[in-house]
Structure formats: structure tokens, C-alpha cells
Symmetry: C2
Subunit: 416 residues, 2 copies
């Protein structure tokens, strides 16, 4: 009942105006689809949107023989593999025994959907000739995929990080198509600090000589691993918090002098610290699974995303949305802050969209949405089932008596 | 009455155990020296310690003809030139009409003191054969320079950022030699988040092929400008705050497509934002004035610094200190936090060192100590004059009734 595939969705015109003849989207589905039945029931289709370096592989696949991989183990290493296996699956918060879950690799990525590393019209990898992608392109590609799969109205769209921006974009682009939108650890747009860090991350790739203008495919050329590793190190720091880094690593040494051959003799007097070891280890694993051009493309899409683009405000962008909105944020997240989620919730209140802003107290930084399933699962489960009235769903507006922890919660400027 | 020079301090053994035959220290002095006179007066010598990429040139030099430079203009661009000209100078908080101010370029740097770019024993630049340096080496080199200049006891040592660590190290290494130590925007040690960012910054340099193991000197070889620029971009983000970056740049575009020849055709659909333009502009100016190896050396010294090294605690390290301590911190600073300054103040209280922790409310991030002279000057002036009893000096212990803004302020475990 779980399926995976690559759909050829035909010609696709990107937001930038460029087209490709065949947009291929790699996807997975979990569970059995029950369509909506007029007003009687909303159907059971849930679209899950992955984060920057995630894939269509959101949940564990217990069955063997599905392409040679056995992912039924506890192997959730890397966001490519069962990246939300503790939140999505049989008996999990998004229960694939009840819901029909679809997850698709976004265009521009490197897990089977059309993107820089896939074959272009000349038989060579696209590289940087692949059209620039935006979050809006991802949403439109998902809509096309769902049409292809025969899925109409969605019970829910759920996404974390830039996947949360993707989910939010559903409420703006397809306001009649989805009942419940859950925006997890995300924001209507990035702030200047994150834009700055992302631009440094991209520059790390484009200044790696092996990047070679994006043309590094083929066995005879080295990949821009140094640059991509640097970009990923910056990402990992953004995903953690000061508190979580101090807790995980402190100033502990992983041994004096560098563990591996150091290029820098003068460094050998100083310790190779746990924090550097962590960043190196994760960066090295990452370059094995991800494509440098895809990283550039997706990071740019995230930076460019602005919920209010083409509208006067976030509230105006949400004006036509017919469903309910959940903003789920984490106190230790400085990549996507509680304040930004509150701004989004405020906009929804202003637009008379039923909304709850559920704040999770966590030191885990942005990573919390991946590593704290026991806190993420209950509000998500109840929101998908019952909307903002769901039992485990809390809202900042309700708790505003307790103090001014977040941006001030005021009633709509435009009345009730 | 202002002087500049380079002192040959003879053989110097670094903390790492390596020696060099001739340690040269570039320095400047401002004002006339009045030595201490027993207990009757404390002398007027004030040592100012520069930050990571600063120089001996702390104040403006109004006189012309002092080596061909005319720095009497408002040119304070870059930390190399009159980097604290609004805090140190005639009539300023640290008044060179009254105090004798000494500022020295630290060993390992590149403004005239011995370091990687200076000539080694074989007549070639040292490069990475220069001994690794630590903050303790800086302090000992400064003590040697002051001996050379005939300066004994100091009225004050004042430093910001890693210069504040340097100032703090004076209280530990030379506890009888200084009356007032002002630690501005600094901490007893860096936290894991900053260590992580610094390691990425260093890796940017050492993965630049032009770095060439540190051997890039000479006109026939390119400098590792890309790597050093990347390191500096990361630094600039650390020196600003989320609020200051949103205020300065927001998401504004400096024009669609990159202002300069972009190496990346697929980027041209996206805006070149103000934040990227700022980081690029400053990085490009920085690589003209700073040496990549020196940046590696000084960043490592900062990362390695730990006030409690060799002691059981910060309080134990301060146990012999005979003078008074000012911790000056800034609410928007996430590089060196208010909490870290409070920890240091707590340690001083525990060690019965007279201390004041003066917190400046500022959105300017770590840069505040450079860009808010009107808030930095008054407490510094009064502290240098009158110690912690100085009129403009406030202390968190006094204001602890107002709420629990900082780490809890409790009385010493060992006190009365």
C-alpha cells in the first residue's frame, strides 16, 4: 500500500518564465486514499512538505524489496531517509493507517525530481542551466502531482522549515484545496540575519574552484565538496541553539591536534574540539548525499520566499484561505523564531482565518521539529483530526494573560 | 607627545614552548607619562587592548608628518585606523590630555608586530612557521613592552572583544600591576556556538587553494582572498544582531542580479540584497588590510582563551587580583553575551574583587562597543578615574530588584 515512483508531469513553466519539456517528480505515498465526499467527509489525503535537504522519503518503509533498500531499521540518519519517521507512519501522529500521505521531492532538489543534476535536453546534466526554482514552483508541481495521482482536495498540508513555507504557500495559491495547513518551525519570510548566513553558505560553494560554474558532473571531475561542506556547517549551526550547542559540545576537546591530517601545521597546538568534529562529521556525510547545485537552488528558493509577495500584507495573502492554520514554533529556534510565527498567526487572525500558534518550549533550536517528535506529534495529530479545536493544540492568544512572552497579541484591526 | 614605534623586545618564548630571537612589537603612545608615586598616586598609564583585527592605532593623531599619514580627518574606517577615536583621545572618555595611553599590536597580527607575514630567520616571511600565539602571549608581550617604555604599574587596562579577554588576562597574570581592569563586550571564554562559527571561518581560509598551506607571500602568488573574505563575512554577522541587521538591511534588494560579474548564471533571477552587498563590501575592504594567516592565528588565540585555564574556576583565577574590575556588556550582543559578563562579575564577587557589571541597552550587537561611544565612554571614564564607585558606573547587583533579567545575582558562596 506504500508506493514510490517518479511521475512525468509534462511541460512545466517555472515562475521565472522558463519552461522544461518534462517535469519529473519523485514521490512516495503511504496508506490508502479515501477521497473527499462532498461535505460529508474531507478525505484523508495529507501532503507533507520536506525541508531544505529532505526527500520524498518521509516515513519508514517496513516492507523489504521495495527497490533494494531496507529502511525498516531505525536508520533515520540524514534527512534523505525517513526524515520524519517518528511523526509520520503507522500509529504515529500522522497515522498512515488512517491517512493517505503523499510526499514529493521538490523540483531543483536531487532525490529523483528534475533539478540541476538530472538530464537536460542535450543528454547532459542541467547544471546551472536548470531554471531557477521558487517555493511557488514547488507548490504548483505538487498540485500537478496530486492531479496525476487523482487526489483532489487535501485534508492537510504539513511542512517544517522551508517545507513550512511550502505548506503556507498552499493556503495562498490554492486556498480552496486544503482544510488544514500546518506551518512548523517556519516563517512568512527569512530575516536579514538568516539571509546573510545563507549568502555566505552559497558563496562557499561558488568560490570552490571545483564548482566550476556549476559544471562538475561526470566521473572525471571532482565535486565541490569543500564548498558544500562549508555551507552545511553553517546550516548546522543555524539548526542548533546556543543552549543546545553548549549542552552537546561545550568547549570539550576531541583530542589535541586535528583528528585527520591537518592542512595547517600551526593549528596542531590547539585542540580539535567536539563542536568542530560534529560539524565535520555531518558535513562529510552530507556531501555524499547532496548535490551542490541543488543546495544553491533550494537555498535561493527559501531566501526568496515571501508570503506577502504580490499582496499588500500577509493577511491579504491569506484572505482567500478557506481552511484552518496551525503555526508550530520552538522557543530555542533562532532560524525561524517564535516571533515570526506569531506574526504569521497575527496575520491569520486579521484575515479571520481560524489559527492556533502552538509554542513548544525546547532548547533544541530549529532541529526541534525533527528531534522532539513527542512534542510535535500530539498538536499535529489533533490539528489534522480536528483543526485548531484539537485537544493538544494550544494558542498564544489564549495564554496571553500569562505575560508578554511573544509579540503582543491584539485583536484584529478590522473587527470580529 | 604622541609616539609610534616598533620595539625589539629580544628573545621571546611563547606559551607553546617555541621561541623567536627577536619579538618586535609595534605600538603607539598618546599623552605624557606620569609614573605612580608609591601610594600617593597611581600614575596615569592606561593600556588599551585591541580587538581581533584592530591595531595599535587606537586614537586619532592630529599632528601631520608622523610618518606620512594624516589621520586627523574623520577617517575611522576599518579597525586598523583610530578604531576607538571617539573613546580615546584629547577630551574623550579616556582622555589623552590626562592619561598616558599605550596600545600595542599583538604578536601574531599584521600591523607591524612579529607575526606570520613578518620576516623569519631565513629572511622569508614566517607564514605558518610562526609559533602559535595565545592571549597569554599577548599579555606577556605587553608587559615586556611596558618595561621597555619604563612603565611600571598601570592605572588601567581596557579592552573590547578579544581585547577584553586580553585585559582580563592582566588581572590573572599580573594581579599586582594594574588598578582598574575594564573588560568590554567580552567573556571568560567563548561558547560552543561561537567556537563553531570560528572553525567555519578558519576552514574558509584553509580550503582556499590560494592559501597554499600558509605559503602565499610574494608578488608572484595570489592571496587567499576568497577564503579570508568568507571568514570576515561570518565575523560581520557575529558582530551584528538580528535586530540591527533587520534595521540596517531588512530584505531590501540592492538590485536584481548581482552588482558585479556573477559567477553563477542561475542566481541572476534573484535579487542581490543589501545584506549581501554590505557583507561583500566590507569583506573586500578587509582583505586589502589584513593577512589571512594572521586571521587564523588570532582567531585561534581567541577560541583557546579560557580565564580559568590552570585554575579551578574563574573566581580562583581572579583570587590574587588586587584592583577593581568593570564588566561592560551590551544587551544585543550574542557573540559575547550579557550572561557571560554576569558570570564573570559573579566570579569576581566570589573572589572579593570589587566589581561592577554595567549593562548597556543596545540593539547594535557586538559592534555596540565600537559604535556607541556615548554609552561606552561615561562608565569607562568614571571607572578609570574612580573605579567601581565611579558615578556613571552601574552594577547588575544593584538593579537585581528590578527583575531577573540576567543570570541570578546571588551573594558569594564564601562571603559574608
Amino acid at each position: 500500500m506504500n508506493e514510490r515512483g517518479v511521475a512525468d508531469l509534462g511541460e512545466f513553466t517555472f515562475e521565472c518564465g522558463e519552461s522544461i519539456e518534462h517535469l519529473e517528480i519523485a514521490y512516495e505515498t503511504y496508506g490508502e486514499y479515501e477521497p473527499a465526499d462532498g461535505d460529508r467527509h474531507a478525505g484523508n489525503a495529507v501532503l507533507v512538505c520536506h525541508a531544505l535537504t529532505g526527500s520524498q522519503h518521509v516515513a519508514r518503509r517496513p516492507e523489504r524489496g521495495d527497490g533494494g533498500n531496507d529502511d525498516g531499521s531505525s536508520d533515520t540518519a540524514g534527512q534523505a531517509r525517513a526524515w520524519w519517521g517518528d511523526v509520520v507512519g503507522p500509529g504515529k501522529a500522522i497515522d498512515t493507517g488512517e491517512q493517505f500521505v503523499v510526499c514529493a521531492n521538490v523540483p531543483g532538489s536531487c532525490y529523483g525530481s528534475s533539478g540541476p543534476p538530472t538530464e537536460g535536453p542535450d543528454g547532459e546534466p542541467w547544471g546551472t542551466d536548470f531554471p531557477p526554482v521558487t517555493v511557488a514552483d514547488w507548490t504548483r508541481a505538487q498540485r500537478r502531482l496530486l492531479d496525476h495521482l487523482g487526489v483532489g482536495r487535501l485534508r492537510a498540508v504539513v511542512g517544517g522549515s522551508v517545507g513550512g513555507m511550502n505548506a503556507l504557500d498552499w493556503a495562498v495559491q490554492y486556498p480552496d484545496d486544503v482544510d488544514h495547513v500546518a506551518v512548523v518551525a517556519a516563517a512568512p519570510r527569512l530575516d536579514a540575519q538568516c539571509l546573510g548566513l545563507d549568502t555566505v553558505a552559497r558563496r562557499a560553494i561558488t568560490t570552490d574552484p571545483n564548482w566550476n560554474g556549476g559544471d562538475y558532473y561526470g566521473d572525471d571531475r571532482p565535486d565541490p565538496d569543500d564548498g558544500l561542506a562549508q555551507a552545511r556547517r553553517i546550516g548546522h549551526i543555524m539548526y542548533l541553539s546556543k543552549a543546545s550547542m553548549d549542552g552537546k559540545f561545550g568547549r570539550r576537546s576531541a583530542g589535541r591536534g586535528h583528528g585527520r591530517e591537518s592542512p595547517d601545521p600551526a593549528a596542531s597546538f590547539f585542540p580539535y574540539r567536539d563542536v568542530e568534529s560534529y560539524l565535520d562529521y555531518n558535513a562529510e556525510r552530507f556531501v555524499e548525499r547532496f548535490d551542490a547545485n541543488a543546495y544553491l537552488y533550494l537555498l535561493r528558493a527559501m531566501d526568496e520566499y515571501d508570503a506577502a509577495a504580490g499582496y499588500e500584507s500577509d493577511a491579504a495573502a491569506l484572505g482567500a484561505f478557506d481552511g484552518e492554520l496551525l503555526c508550530l514554533s520552538f522557543t530555542g529556534d533562532w532560524h525561524f523564531t517564535v516571533g515570526q510565527s506569531e506574526e504569521l498567526a497575527e496575520a491569520a487572525r486579521e484575515a479571520d482565518v481560524p489559527v492556533a500558534h502552538h509554542v513548544v518550549d525546547s532548547d533544541h533550536g530549529h532541529d526541534a521539529f525533527l528531534v522532539e517528535p513527542e512534542r510535535v506529534g500530539p498538536p499535529l495529530a489533533d490539528f489534522v483530526a480536528d483543526g485548531v479545536a484539537g485537544q493538544a493544540v494550544t494558542d498564544t492568544a489564549e495564554s496571553s494573560d500569562d505575560g508578554d512572552e511573544f509579540a503582543p497579541v491584539h485583536t484584529s484591526l478590522f473587527g470580529d
